[in-house]
Amino acid sequence: MSTPLLEIDNLQVDFRLPTGTVSAVRGVSFSIHEGETMALVGESGSGKSVTSTALMRLLPEMTHISGSARLGEQELLKISPRQMRRVRGDEMSMIFQEPMTSLNPLHRIGRQIAEVLERHRGMTGQKAQQRVLELLRQVGIPEPERRVRSYPHELSGGQRQRVMIAIALACEPKLLIADEPTTALDVTVQAQILALLKDLQQRYGMAILFITHDLTLVRHFAERVCVMRHGEIVESGDTATVFERPQHDYTRMLLDAEPSGTKAAVDTQAPMLLEASDIRVRFPIRKRLFGRSEYFEAVRGITLNIRRGQTVGIVGESGSGKSTLGRALLRLLESQGSITFDNTDITHLDKSAMRPLRSRMQVVFQDPFGSLSPRQTVGEIISEGLRVHYPELGRREREARIIEALQEVSLDPAMRRRYPHEFSGGQRQRIAIARALVLKPRFLLLDEPTSALDRSVQMTVIRLLREIQRRHDLTYLFISHDLAVVRALSDTVLVMKEGQVVEHGTSETIFTRPRETYTKTLLKAAFMSSEHAA
């Protein structure tokens, strides 16, 4: 076997914090050969991103790195910062997760690509311009002559990620580190970006270190895989072998963590809980003091009925209006059309008339970090709704309700005195569910409640949601871009695109016999069926 391109031996990364030393990576060794794709898989906190940032030497001052990382002849951990700068972007480069923030919003994209060429190749003027256009063409940006003068905000997320790739490839590096390059993108875009990376890899013959939490991607994208946990590699080998015969329990757990099962059907004669017809939501784009304002219609005439005990899933890519629809149904946003909830017409109720109904309709949001007020204790957060809807409760009764709600979501009631930042993502999501449950609602709007969580945590949250639905006869409106989760939870599914319903049917029908092409594309990209694996 040839000598590897990148060889990492016993890499150890420690963060020296005021509170003590935290070891993020503990003695990791692996190697990558030329032209090969290796995946580093793990859940959040496993040290996979730290490993890659350590290779680029982009970690903050207070970190201590030991071990060795050889790229060809160079020892990356020993060379001077000056030499390191020469390596970065030239011999190895990196693309990041967040295409929205990894480009400088003040510079045209052409300028940002040319910067690398100027730095490492000394290319300027016409020559650089030509190379920039060539790169943009290679990464599949339409009309590169025009786009080269665009600012990042004029591009979509997928296009921005393509520009990031163009920057990373500008100097034809030998190694590309892709740190969750598609996590922030929609599934259909994700498939395109991965196909692009594969294609470019063949053209340039570069090696890719692919960092991800998503096992589905690994299976189709990488030749070898290392599974990381708590800063250590627990299992490594060929992708096929690892997937077929996982040796380590943790790998097996990750593989099993794909949501499975379906929801038991509900009596089709159950009473209607929520009926909405012809819902339209529009946002002003430009407000004028005089004359007509311009509007953007985010939801364009959607009719939806939900029976008690049902779960209706809404799937769609970002910008499809699914979250907007959810908020409109709860009257958190102004909308047109009529909404009937629990036999009450709530279309025209004002804020104070809505208030008594609020205890029956609750929400759980996507971001477990943003949905809890950082300055309130968990107990205060959960009791907030009780203060509004049951002001007659005494302190002790309220306390009892809080404890009950926390137990219901399997959290230790003693935690009610702590603040949200002390909890992990999954625990916070449980707190958010407890906040909703404490009011004993009939209807829960679940707006991407599992999207920000690791797969294994996702599973436990889904299990919890299923259980409380059964126990309290709850009705869910489940919004997600994650089709696997929607499939596991929903009775009926609504596929949305650009504010309209593309397809509506039982979960079974949509996932096994989709009619519309859009649904088919979505499903294909999400489950990465073999013909789409590029």
Binding site: V363, P374, R375, T377, E384, H389, R396, R435
Partner: protein, 313 residues
């Protein structure tokens, strides 16, 4: 923000429960509002710089309030034997006298009363009006926000001097007018800062969650928005205090502020600057007092910001 209407514990005891309660109540639970305050105090106490500053501020304040009564010299008493003498025990001029033979320590303490009270009043005014105004404007948004902020712009565009002179003309010369004038200007910055914070915060999901719970707007503003703007607000307050003290001395220098024989730190410093060569203590004494106070406020402000943020441990 920590004040939280007490939830009456005796309430449920009045209900008909058997006297021998089978499950005795658990150890008394600190009210939620109280616990944040207590927690913050515990954390502040661990911050030595902040605690030292707090102690020093208390000492300075007490000295300024009580000191003049203990001093053998009054504010305007002239010692005909000592004009511009350096610190001496003779005649009990511990920090010397000024060019008119008045005791500098006494005058510095009197000056401290004026400077500290101006700082306190103007800051409290800017805090209360500015925070509420900014939070409401940002939270309500739309046309209201537009109107409220245009009013702030108009206030900004009024020349400050013009405002003060106008007040003097209408109400006559009065120290409270200085408080009013400075307070009326200082809240504008605070309102803008808080509004900016609020605009960012109100899109956060926890605010939306509060809406979904049916929480009233007033409660969202006081319980969710304002506490989360505290970090920048406290930092800004520590910047306001020195600004206000200097503004007051500027007004006094122009003859619009406090008048002789009453004095303030700013006035003493500007007098001291004139005599810097011949009588350096006249500058040093009030300048050191002012500098110490400002240092302490900065440390205390940083300490408070960290102590009130549950995320810092």
């Amino acid at each position: 923000m920590t004040s939280h209407t007490s939830t009456h514990d005796g309430f449920e005891d009045r209900h008909d429960r058997p006297a021998g309660n089978p499950n005795p109540p658990p150890e008394p639970d600190p009210g939620p509002g109280e616990s944040l305050g207590r927690e913050a105090w515990r954390r502040l106490r661990q911050n030595h710089a902040a605690m030292f500053s707090l102690g020093l501020l208390v000492v300075i304040t007490i000295a300024c309030v009580a000191g003049p009564w203990l001093s053998p010299w009054g504010l305007a008493d002239v010692d005909w034997n000592a004009f511009g003498v350096p610190p001496t025990l003779e005649g009990m001029h511990l920090l010397g006298t000024d060019a008119n033979g008045r005791d500098l320590l006494t005058r510095t303490l009197y000056g401290g009363r004026v400077s500290l009270s101006v700082a306190l009043v103007a800051t409290v005014v800017s805090l209360v009006i500015g925070v509420l105004y900014g939070a409401i404007s940002g939270y309500v948004g739309g046309r209201t926000d537009n109107l409220m902020m245009r009013f702030v712009d108009i206030m900004y565009s009024l020349p400050f001097m013009f405002l003060v002179i106008l007040l003097m003309v209408v109400f006559g010369r009065n120290i409270f007018l200085i408080y009013a004038a400075i307070g009326a200007v200082e809240w504008l910055d605070m309102a803008r800062i808080v509004r900016g914070q609020t605009l960012a915060l109100k899109r956060r999901e926890f605010i939306e969650a509060a809406h979904a719970l049916g929480v009233k707007d007033s409660r969202i503003i006081t319980r969710h928005l304002i506490p989360n703007t505290l970090g920048p607000v406290i930092i800004y307050v520590t910047l306001t205090v020195p600004k206000v003290i200097l503004l007051e001395s500027f007004l006094s220098f122009l003859g619009l502020g406090v008048q002789e024989p009453l004095t303030s730190w700013g006035v003493l410093i500007s007098e001291g600057t004139d005599q810097m060569q011949s009588a350096p203590w006249m500058l040093l004494v009030p300048a050191v007092c002012l500098a110490l106070t400002l240092f302490c406020l900065n440390f205390l402000g940083d300490g408070l910001r960290d102590a009130l943020d549950p995320r810092t441990r």
